[in-house]
């Protein structure tokens, strides 16, 4: 017999996003279950044993596990039920608008959860060597940075003895320092862009402090070795194309990839949720509701964040929207929001008249300062000067409902004012 269970809200994923959304719902008296594959709630924070978390949300500097403990305690105190070591193997929307989730776990076998609303909070997976089709052999010693982090921080195993890190994403930078501290030599970090993809503070604290070279506008053009990695070939890029005549070899036995994150939206696809190609996440309205009524999304599965603090804030807003949805509020208006010049995307993808809304963006370049503007049907209704703009750092704009007073198309854009180079010269 397959056991059935009814809840108000099923949250998929017990990372920072899922816990924040669940806590809001449970606080409001909704029966809320958080489902996660891992043994402990907290998501990827559990393996991020470095500090730097929580400055915004908790106003103090915490390690990943400390941040996780706080948000887990908060959710538990609110009455959230945890179903850990459990995989959601299927999710379906029933004719009456409720949802059925099929769960698999070692402890309770096969069970079904029926929920009135679903929050997608599955986070991301890492892009890997295969996604980039990096040429060369197929030796052991090639890891994603997060996989190496898990091996090191939760299993106590060193990935190798001497590493090259491909990509300068935050996990890669953090891992460069972590490896150095563990006695693993780090030969180089290789980045295809002319700037680091991770936060500046991580470049300073994780590379510069250890004299680890960062090769900007370079690409790994071959991974060499048959059994274990022996070296990588690195070449400078010209207009994105490697100049093979200038390639050089770095000997190493380990290659870590920190080349971006991909929202894990396979379950969303199963529900028929419409995705935004620019983010890889769901297309959501001002309530973080997806194209499927009753399905909400927040955190890294919606779009990749740079700080967990923003994840917690965003998912809490999604959680509050779930409450309104279950209380029978009408769905938020869907007036389109567009990412204009110099912005990769904007979330949410719709605005509702009269509703205070926080918009999140990724800039497409590096500028010392730039003006972020919002235009509603040909009229600039809001602007703010942003300094130290870079793709690694997400931009936020809080617009009051009073500004969003007309139907139409809302477009955000970034007008560059000062180059990075100009500032350096000055």
């Amino acid at each position: 017999m397959i056991e059935d269970r009814n809840v108000d809200v099923a949250v998929i994923g017990a990372g920072a996003a899922g816990l924040a959304a669940a806590a809001e719902c449970a606080d409001h008296g909704l029966e809320t279950v958080v489902i996660d594959r891992e043994e402990l709630p907290g998501g990827i924070l559990r393996q991020c044993i470095h500090n730097g978390f929580g400055l915004r949300y908790f106003h103090e500097e915490l390690t990943g596990p400390e941040y996780a403990d706080r948000v887990v305690e908060r959710a538990a105190a609110s009455g959230v039920k945890f179903q850990m070591n459990t995989t959601v193997s299927d999710v379906r929307r029933e004719e009456n608008g409720d949802f059925t989730l099929l769960l698999l776990s070692e402890q309770s076998g096969v069970t079904r959860v029926h929920a009135r609303a679903v929050v997608l909070a599955m986070g991301c997976r890492e892009r890997n060597r295969g996604n980039l089709a990096i040429p060369g052999g197929r030796p052991a010693g090639v890891f994603t940075a997060g996989c190496a982090q898990k091996l090191l921080n939760t299993e106590g195993m060193l990935p190798g003895k001497c590493a090259v890190i491909v990509g300068s994403g935050d996990i890669g930078l953090i891992m460069a320092r972590r490896l150095r501290w563990s006695g693993v030599e780090v030969k180089a970090v290789v980045e295809i862009m002319p700037y680091a993809s991770g936060l500046t503070r991580n470049v300073v604290q994780c590379l510069n402090d250890f004299n680890i070279p960062l090769y900007l506008e370079h690409s790994v053009v071959s991974i060499n070795g048959r059994e274990r990695v022996q070296s990588v070939d690195v070449a400078p890029l010209h207009d994105g194309i490697p100049i093979l005549e200038q390639k050089f070899t770095i000997n190493c036995d380990t290659v870590l990839f920190s080349v971006g994150l991909i929202p894990e939206n396979e379950l969303a696809a199963r529900l028929g949720v419409e995705l935004n190609p620019a983010t890889g996440g769901a297309l959501v309205d001002a309530d973080y509701q997806t194209s499927v009524p009753g399905v909400f999304s927040g955190g890294n599965v919606l779009h990749v964040h740079d700080l967990v603090d923003f994840v917690s804030e965003e998912a809490a807003r999604a959680g509050r929207a779930v409450i309104r949805y279950l209380e029978g509020a009408t769905a938020a208006e869907r007036n389109p929001v567009r990412a204009g010049a110099n912005l990769k995307y904007v979330v949410p993808g719709y605005y509702a008249r009269g509703r205070d809304t926080v918009f999140a963006f990724r800039p497409l370049g590096v500028w010392a300062s730039a003006m972020l503007e919002a235009e509603l049907d040909g009229r600039v209704i809001w602007k703010r000067r942003c300094s130290h703009v870079r793709p690694a750092e997400m931009l936020l704009a809080e617009l009051s409902g009073q500004l969003l007073n007309a139907p139409g198309t809302l477009e955000f854009r970034l007008r560059p004012e000062q180059d990075e180079a100009a500032v350096e010269e000055a």
Binding site: E126, A133, G137, L158, P159
Partner: protein, 488 residues
């Protein structure tokens, strides 16, 4: 102890021969150079069951291809590997190409292939809506299909072993001496192990020439011809129903779009001569070449869907045909060399053919009284209903512990692989599909390594990707000396 037959090489040819011989009273040993079976040519393969129209029936490879093609349903029933007869489409995009299509079709008819169908544009698009609508014409071979080649080898070996065939892995034959007085072969491995056998089957793939040489049999050369393949996510909108072939070139059957038997899509292979028999590197140029070629045939192919790539080497003889014969130089020595495409398709027939050659060689083959004809059903949770999973859970709760999220593989499946002797990460991956999906082991490889270590008793730091020196880890945290922080 002296074995009746030693088969060198546990790829499709050797494994199929072992399965055939396992039905007879015959002490057989299978010797594999690498850490697991199928780790040579068979692993990195397009996995096509060919339709019998590419080569004239005057060649041995075409004869065995046609016969082998007919044998897969029975083998699948007995051994339970992933195989589907979903048909092959050969498609042309110009009148010039249509001339080759007609020639191939005629050759297929002459070869006795049934149900080949010449198709116009509309019929092709009906058979395969994913085709580029600019297609001019082509033909349909409903007898073609796809198979998971490594799973096929695992099944053949498992079946053979249930019937008493022995297996030794990491056995790289470096010497073969015929003892004329007592009439047996003495085979020595690189690590010093030795075995004796009355007869030797040389199914050593890329290294058949070296084996032949060290055994004092015929001198010939195997030329490796490399094929790169790129695997697309199972969600790729490009996945066709049929295997899509272009018109072939002189050296190869061309770059294909392959709906694999396990639900992913593969594009490739290239066909370029390689210098080194161990060179399985891929290159950026070939990726672009493959993608450009398949985009002409099928809509929706995107490099964003690539989840991994690999290269395999075809063992090619000068003649371009298979060389399966009793040695004229070395006694009781059977050559199974040059098994390039369509070797996988031909392999069931190769096993039979070798069995017959052994009989010709004077071997008495008496059928066993009790033969295990079928392997027990292997549960794979990705294919089971919730009700079956519930039953499996009661039997062993680890059936509902999902370890690999992308391919949906349970801990029980991983444990089964390890208990069957697959103790490398690649061995477990090819046996179970764990780590084969879109995250390529990013989430699950640490978990799988822990399970292998726990079940096999091999410490984590000694685990390998594929045997030899392919160590997965650098050691235990705390074992490396830490350099002091540089002065500012």
């Amino acid at each position: 102890m002296i074995y009746d037959v030693a088969i060198i090489g546990a790829g499709v040819s050797g494994a199929s021969t072992a399965w055939q011989l396992s039905h007879f009273d015959c002490r057989t040993i299978l010797l594999e150079r690498w850490a697991d079976v199928g780790f040579g040519v068979s692993k990195a393969n397009s996995g096509i069951v060919h339709g019998g129209f590419h080569h004239p029936v005057s060649t041995l490879k075409a004869k065995l291809e046609i016969r082998g093609n007919l044998m897969f349903e029975k083998l699948q029933y007995e051994l339970g590997f992933p195989f589907q007869r979903n048909g092959i489409l050969v498609v042309a995009f110009s009148e010039e190409q249509m001339a080759t299509v007609r020639k191939l079709y005629q050759q297929g008819i002459a070869n006795g292939v049934r149900n080949l169908e010449m198709c116009g544009r509309d019929r092709l698009l009906e058979l395969e809506p994913k085709l580029n609508p600019e297609v001019v014409g082509g033909f349909f071979a409903p007898n073609g299909g796809t198979i998971e080649p490594y799973r096929y080898v695992f099944s053949l070996v498992e079946g053979a072993m249930r019937n008493g065939v022995e297996l030794q892995c990491n056995f790289e034959v470096t010497q073969g001496k015929w003892n004329a007085e007592e009439s047996f072969w003495r085979l020595t491995a690189a690590d010093g192990r030795e075995i004796s056998a009355r007869r030797v089957v040389n199914a050593a793939g890329l290294f058949a020439d070296q084996i032949s040489h060290v055994c004092g049999a015929e001198e010939y050369r195997i030329h490796p011809r490399k094929g790169e393949e790129y695997l697309l996510d199972r969600n790729s909108s490009a996945r066709p129903r049929r295997v899509i072939f272009p018109v072939p070139s002189r050296d190869s059957k061309g770059v294909l779009v392959i709906p694999t038997a396990e639900g992913t899509t593969m594009i490739g292979p290239t066909a370029d001569p390689a210098e080194d028999k161990l060179d399985t590197t891929t290159s950026a140029d070939n990726m672009h070449r493959i993608v450009a070629l398949v985009r002409q045939m099928v809509n929706g192919i995107s490099t964003r869907d690539i989840i991994t790539s690999f290269a395999g080497l075809r063992p090619v003889l000068e003649s371009e045909d298979f060389y399966i014969a009793r040695s004229e130089k070395a006694p009781h020595f059977i050559q199974v060399a040059g098994i390039q495409s369509p070797g996988l398709t031909a392999s069931p027939a190769i096993g039979e053919y070798v069995k017959d050659l052994l009989k010709e060689d004077g071997m008495t083959l008496t059928e066993k009284n009790h033969v295990v004809q079928e392997l027990p059903v292997r549960h794979e949770i990705r294919h089971e209903t919730p009700e079956t999973l519930d039953t499996l859970h009661k039997d062993d709760p680890r059936w509902t512990h999902v370890v690999c999220r992308c391919e949906n593989i349970s801990e029980a499946e991983i444990i089964e692989a390890v208990r069957k002797g697959h103790t490398t990460l690649d061995g477990v991956k090819f046996y179970t599909r764990g780590g084969m999906g879109r995250c390529q082991g990013g989430f699950c490889s640490a978990k799988i390594m822990k399970i292998i270590s726990r079940e096999s008793g091999i410490p984590m730091e000694k685990l390998t990707k594929k045997g030899g020196n392919s160590r997965l880890l650098g050691g235990v945290l705390g074992s490396a000396e830490v350099e002091p922080m540089p002065e500012k």
